[in-house]
């Protein structure tokens, strides 16, 4: 039989009659919500990802978990922008605190924490209050930013407005429920309510205008119908429909399975000889992780804000491409799932969802991947789409056609004769690697250093430095071929593999162990991608090597260069391989040089526009990217632009000419500056 119990609020209640239905209702709703969530997750997400190809992302579980916890709870990638970072941090941690406080209080009665309220109940109350306050502050910041400031990268849809409104109603009614309860019991049981629930206490003072009995009734109505039920429905809405708030479980999944290799490392096409198709034509040819990327994208637009193609008015926006592909997946995915494999006729991605102009505008600079808070990978997807166009449809511009033809015939993008590869070195006394006694290092000159007039001066400088420091080095001479970067970035994986395998075979034949490169693209591909084809070498970029020579005292820089210099971080050296400080150490070692940083430097550096094969393509749309970067150097009143990449040097050199600043500004490779200072 149910007994009358004096509750801590002063009420005498029949516990079973009052609380049992609430507990049963909660359990039923909660289990129902869990079931709906699991079903919805499987039906609307998991089975779509399952359409994609296999990919192993389960290695190094401990590192993945550590990274997930650091990125999620520390909001590591959010703090690059202070306002949105702080805003999201407040909302996130506020929600966590509300949840923690709520869980303790929800289950407090059965475990004897409530009647009368024990310390932990009061702490939980306080934690919820603070959590609510944080969410309110963060929420107000978010609303102000989205509806008043309206940054161009934010797209506001009805679902965004719904989330803010619903969240505000839940927050307000939550405080009201506590306020009603405090008003009913006063200070008789918990005299220090103002400390444990400051905001609710304040609200409760207004409720003193209600007599006790209506207060009790309003408490029940608000708690059950106006707070608890809408809260459950809110979570049901979040789990069942595709709202932006789904990022709270999609994003951690994506962060966990993120790429742990250096950025921009492409993967070879497996079983090339037997493959029936290459690259990606339709949505199910992406891997499951690439499909997860599409769904995990929160549409925040950070990638768009840093994309040099987008900022120079090209049709490409990484955010827009990802969102369009997400819509494509949601449209085509269910059709593919309900059609037998041999009857499927999926819609092609190119031409319907992604245009060729968008695809070819990408410079592979990785700024989008660096900026993305949930680690969406864009580069590999773009290259996969290029591979299909290039290898299957042979659909590309005449610039690309010529470049690929030159690479195939003469093993360099300019199409110059192979025998001319060592012309630059003929009077320098440079030896071929096989003729050097006990060589320390192979100097991989690269196509730019070998054939491009401006960059041959860089190769000259490097040779002078190596000879001055008595480094035992050699070059491959006419046996050196293009590293394969242009072919691979354009999408001609077949040509890349042919070129790379030939280079690997030559280097293995000569027993090459350590390679010094002038070019970050050669550096990146030799270090990170040649191992995929069996070429395991120790690869060092010339800035790293110069830093070692300076630190060891072998290289002394005595002649001053009294100029103001700014350093342009090249994408494949900086973002691709995290080499930021070695070049700066070199510049700081040169007497007289004053280093100033452009606004976008280090991992936020702005691309010169030549990556992703674009060095070999004309720029027909929008502003020229190299001119934008030159403008940034002009803004900081630099007299010199230092760089460590032949592509960047070419683009910035051209940029200075196009801006008419040759009298006041010049671009140099760091090795040239070291040569001048020796």
């Amino acid at each position: 039989m149910d007994s009358l119990t004096r509750f801590w609020t002063g009420q005498e209640v029949y516990i079973m009659k009052v609380f049992l239905p609430i507990i049963i209702g909660f359990v039923v709703l909660f289990i129902g919500l869990l079931a709906v969530s699991a079903l919805s997750f499987w039906w609307r997400h998991y089975r779509l990802w399952y359409l994609g190809k296999e990919e192993n992302r389960s290695d190094r579980g401990a590192l993945r978990l550590k990274s997930l916890l650091a990125v999620t709870f520390g909001h590591l990638r959010f703090w690059k922008e202070l306002y949105p970072g702080a805003m999201h941090f407040l909302i996130f941690w506020g929600a966590i605190l509300i949840f923690l406080g709520k869980i303790v209080r929800l289950f407090s009665y059965p475990v004897g924490l409530t009647n009368p309220p024990q310390s932990i109940f009061k702490y939980a109350s306080f934690v919820s209050e603070i959590g609510g306050l944080l969410v309110m502050i963060g929420g107000c910041m978010a609303v102000y930013r989205r509806y008043i400031i309206k940054p161009s990268r934010l797209e506001t849809k009805p679902t965004n407005t719904l989330i803010y409104l619903w969240g505000a109603v839940l927050l307000m009614t939550g405080y009201f429920v506590k306020g009603y309860r405090i008003a009913i019991i006063g200070g008789s049981v918990v005299p220090d309510w103002p400390f444990w629930s400051p905001l609710s206490y304040l609200i409760s003072r207004f409720f003193l205008i209600l007599p006790t009995e209506p207060l009790n009734e309003l408490l029940v109505w608000h708690r059950v119908l106006i707070h608890a039920l809408p809260a459950f429905l809110f979570f049901a809405y979040v789990f069942m429909t595709r709202t932006p708030l789904q990022h709270f479980f999609l994003s951690p999944i994506n962060i966990y399975f993120r790429n742990l290799k250096p950025k921009g490392v492409l993967v070879p096409i497996p079983n090339f000889e037997e493959a029936e198709t290459f690259g990606v034509k339709e949505i199910s040819e992406l891997t499951w992780k690439q499909l997860l990327d599409l769904e995990a994208c929160t549409n925040c637009g950070r990638c768009q804000d840093v994309c040099p193609a987008h900022l120079s008015q090209k049709p490409l926006s990484p955010r827009r491409m990802t969102q369009n592909l997400k819509d494509h997946l949601r449209r085509e995915g269910p059709k593919l799932l309900t059609t037998p494999p041999d009857q499927r006729q999926p819609e092609a991605i190119m031409g319907t969802t992604v245009s060729e102009d968008e695809l070819w505008a990408c410079t592979n600079c990785m700024a989008c991947e660096e900026a993305c808070p949930v680690y969406v990978e864009q580069i590999i997807r773009i290259i996969d789409l290029r591979r299909y166009l290039v290898l299957v449809e042979t659909k590309y511009s005449s610039d690309i056609r010529l470049t690929l033809k030159n690479l195939e015939k003469n093993n360099n993008p300019w199409g110059m004769g192979r025998g001319l590869r060592t012309e630059w070195a003929k009077d320098l006394g440079v030896k071929i690697f096989s003729e050097v006694t006990d060589p320390e290092i192979l100097f991989w000159v690269g196509c730019c250093g070998s054939f491009d007039a401006r960059n041959q001066k860089v190769a000259n400088s490097m040779v002078k430095i190596l000879q001055a420091c008595e480094v035992r080095f050699g070059i491959l001479g006419n046996e050196e071929g293009c590293c394969g970067d242009p072919a691979r970035r354009i999408g001609n994986e077949y040509l890349f593999q042919m070129t790379a395998e030939a280079n690997i075979e030559i280097m293995k034949r000569y027993g090459v162990k350590k390679i010094l490169t002038l070019c970050p693209h050669c550096f990146h591909i030799l270090k990170n991608e040649y191992p995929q084809l069996g070429g395991e070498f120790q690869v060092i970029h010339h800035t790293q090597f110069l830093t070692e020579l300076i630190s060891s005292g072998k290289l002394k820089l005595t002649k001053p260069i009294n100029k103001v210099i700014t350093y342009h971080d090249s994408c494949y050296l900086g973002r691709g391989n995290q080499i930021y400080e070695a070049p700066r150490k070199i510049l700081k070692s040169i007497p007289g040089l004053k280093l100033v940083e452009m606004e976008r430097h280090h991992n936020r550096s702005f691309c010169c526009g030549a990556g992703g094969g674009r060095m070999w393509m004309e720029e027909h749309i929008g502003t020229r990217i190299n001119q934008m970067r030159t403008d940034q150097a002009i803004e900081v009143k630099a007299e010199l632009i230092g760089t460590a990449c032949p592509y960047c040097l070419t683009m910035l050199f051209d940029g200075i000419k196009e801006k008419g600043k040759e009298e006041t500004m010049a671009a140099y490779d760091l090795s040239e500056l070291v040569d001048q200072s020796m």
Partner: protein, 77 residues
């Protein structure tokens, strides 16, 4: 003693209730389209929810004016 805050209290309750109703209706509408309802039904759904919302508003106002308790004087302490 009766307080003159009764209309204010009723207005606050109505705003909260209409906030809940609006959120629920908008959620139902967005969910329907997310689950595949065609765009051509958008205007129809908008009208239906607008009418239901107005009815709810009238009901809440009438119900609260009739049943909302008489209030005491507000003294903050």
């Amino acid at each position: 003693m009766e307080s003159s805050f009764r209309p204010v209290a009723i207005a606050v309750e109505v705003i909260i209730l209409m906030g809940v109703i609006y959120s629920l209706f908008l959620a139902v509408k967005l969910s329907a389209f997310d689950f595949g309802l065609e765009e051509k039904y958008q205007r129809f759904i908008d009208w239906v929810f607008m009418i239901m919302g107005c009815l709810a508003l009238v009901f809440f106002v009438a119900h609260l004016i009739t049943f909302y308790p008489r209030l005491l004087t507000l003294t903050l302490h």
